[in-house]
């Protein structure tokens, strides 16, 4: 065999990298920009450019953060919100994956359920929040329902797409070796649709976080959204910003984790 046939060596032979000691230009510029912004934000109220009551200051936000973690029953509220998130998301996974598989493998089921599903996916599920409150009260239940509704559709639709868009040549190949329908499902359709499923999960994370916060903002007795409401009416910009940062960091971290799994799974696609 000729060596010209070898197109790619595996990446394991990557040389030891010390590049973190020499930050890239974009990283330097990015950091400088953030620092400049913080300095500007800090001095602007003192210089009289803006009203500090509405903008707060980085130092105030920092103090507020420490205060929130120490005295604000933060863990209690975070636990409430996290419970709503996890319960709604878990429920969405349990319902949406089998449903997506069913829709992806059965044309009849798809013809039947696809149009209303698509409509529900596009419509903001938050419009159902007042109904959920009427039905389920003001405790965790309506938030769990809204998280569920937000997360369920992206997972269903992506799982369905992953299943139904399986390469027919793979299925034919499997059949040629005498694969049963079950074999084709477990060995071809499931691994083939995994990247799409993960995409669905990633999109669902954002919607679920939104569901928790908006649900709590609307009506609640506890939770991160409840705190946001509280400090909003008290005009505590510093504390509001701390909570905003916490929520974004949470959503961002989850998204990054799912995306890295996704990239790993999708690795074989990169050409």
């Amino acid at each position: 065999m000729r060596s010209a046939e070898i197109t790619a060596e595996p990446a394991e032979t990557r040389q030891l990298s010390l590049s973190f000691l020499r930050p890239s230009r974009s990283a330097v510029i990015g950091t400088l920009a953030v620092l400049a912004f913080l300095v500007l934000w800090q001095i602007a109220p003192t210089m009289g450019w803006v009203n500090g009551r509405f903008t707060s200051r980085p130092t105030e936000v920092f103090v507020a953060a420490i205060d929130i973690f120490r005295n604000d029953n933060f863990l209690y509220h975070a636990r409430i919100s996290l419970t709503e998130f996890v319960a709604g998301f878990a429920l969405a996974i349990v319902v949406s994956i089998p449903l997506g598989v069913l829709l992806g493998t059965s044309k009849i089921a798809r013809y039947l359920i696809d149009p209303p599903l698509m409509a529900l996916y596009i419509a903001p599920t938050l419009v159902l929040l007042p109904i959920m409150v009427i039905w389920l009260g003001i405790d965790m239940a309506p938030k769990i329902a809204v998280v569920f509704l937000g997360a369920v559709f992206p997972i269903v639709l992506n799982t369905m797409a992953g299943m139904s868009e399986a390469d027919p040549r793979f299925i034919r190949m499997a059949r040629s070796f005498g694969a049963t329908r079950f074999d084709i499902f477990t060995r071809v359709l499931v691994p083939g649709s995994l990247p799409a499923l993960l995409t669905g999960l990633r999109l669902a994370v954002g919607r679920a976080v939104l569901g928790v916060i908006v649900g709590e903002l609307f009506v609640s007795q506890a939770g991160i959204g409840y705190q946001l409401n509280l400090y909003g009416s008290a005009m505590r910009i510093d504390r509001l910003l701390v909570y905003a940062l916490i929520v974004s960091a949470f959503g961002y971290t989850l998204t990054v984790i799912v995306r890295s799994v996704e990239n790993k799974v999708r690795d074989w696609r990169s050409k």
């Binding site: 034919r172 499997a174 070796f177 990169s270």
Partner: protein, 264 residues
């Protein structure tokens, strides 16, 4: 008795839009002896791939019958394995994983799956690459995996659907010679579909020439070139003679095609 016996075979399709029935293959009769290497050649649309897929049991017959070792073909079976033209390696599986796929599907119990797969991978010359994934391989290497996967299940008949069709001319030649080397060792009956005349002659004990509208067999040509063969044979007189004969057949097909286009 011949190993593959095809009698009065006809395969009709219903066109999805117009619901019109058209015949892909009609009145095909062919017998293939055990251990024979048969190439099927013809211009595109002559039903050669359809014929092969019918032998594989992946296409249902409208008329006639196909028998392998006296048994009627009603679907895929462990006595046959297919090497597809392209994209039939599962991208999430390594080379070894892909070669094991057929063995897994057939619930192979002739020993350790990994060992069997590695044996086949070495046979096609990819021993070093067993942990690579398809996207890391060249087209030629992928087709080696494809062949290894088919050979792994130890079929009686190897069915190949233009396996080198997507490769460049040079790789194609190398792969042809390589395939003969493997075939001479494995001693399988082989049905090989191609539209490349040289390839058809180089590999074959017997060439089946097909024509269009509907797909039918125009001629079966015996190839008496000595084995083992190498590239030198491409310049022999006997080879030139066969090439001329096949060219004439295909040219005929092309001109009738042009006629149809002019009328339309």
């Amino acid at each position: 008795m011949a190993q593959i016996e095809i009698r009065d075979l006809g395969i009709d399709y219903r066109k999805p839009k117009s619901n019109e029935v058209f015949s892909a293959v009609d009145s095909v009769a062919l017998s293939v002896e055990k251990g024979e290497f048969v190439t099927i050649v013809g211009s595109s649309g002559c039903g050669k791939s359809t014929l092969l897929m019918a032998v594989a049991g992946l296409v249902s017959l409208t008329r006639g019958s196909i028998e392998i070792d006296g048994k009627q073909v009603t679907g895929p079976g462990p006595d046959r394995a297919v090497v597809f033209q392209e994209a039939s390696l599962l991208p999430w599986r390594s080379v070894r994983g892909n070669v094991k796929f057929g063995l897994e599907m057939q619930r192979w119990n002739g020993g350790d799956l990994n060992e069997r797969a590695m044996q086949m991978i070495r046979l096609v010359g990819l021993g070093r690459f067993s942990d690579y994934h398809p996207h890391q391989l060249s087209g030629g290497m992928r087709q080696r995996v494809n062949i290894a996967r088919a050979l792994a299940v130890d079929p009686e008949v190897l069915l190949m659907d233009e396996p080198f069709g997507a490769l460049d001319a040079q790789t194609r030649e190398i792969m042809g010679a390589e395939l003969l080397r493997i075939w001479e060792r494995a001693k399988k009956t082989a049905l090989f579909v191609t539209h490349d005349i040289d390839e058809a002659i180089f590999l074959a004990d017997k060439i089946v020439v097909m024509g269009r509208n509907p797909g039918h067999i125009k001629e079966v040509i015996k190839v008496d070139l000595p084995r083992p063969r190498n590239e030198a044979i491409l310049d022999s007189d006997a080879f030139h003679e066969l090439r001329k004969r096949l060219r004439a057949h295909l040219a005929e097909d092309m001109s009738s095609m042009q006629l149809v286009q002019e009328v339309a």
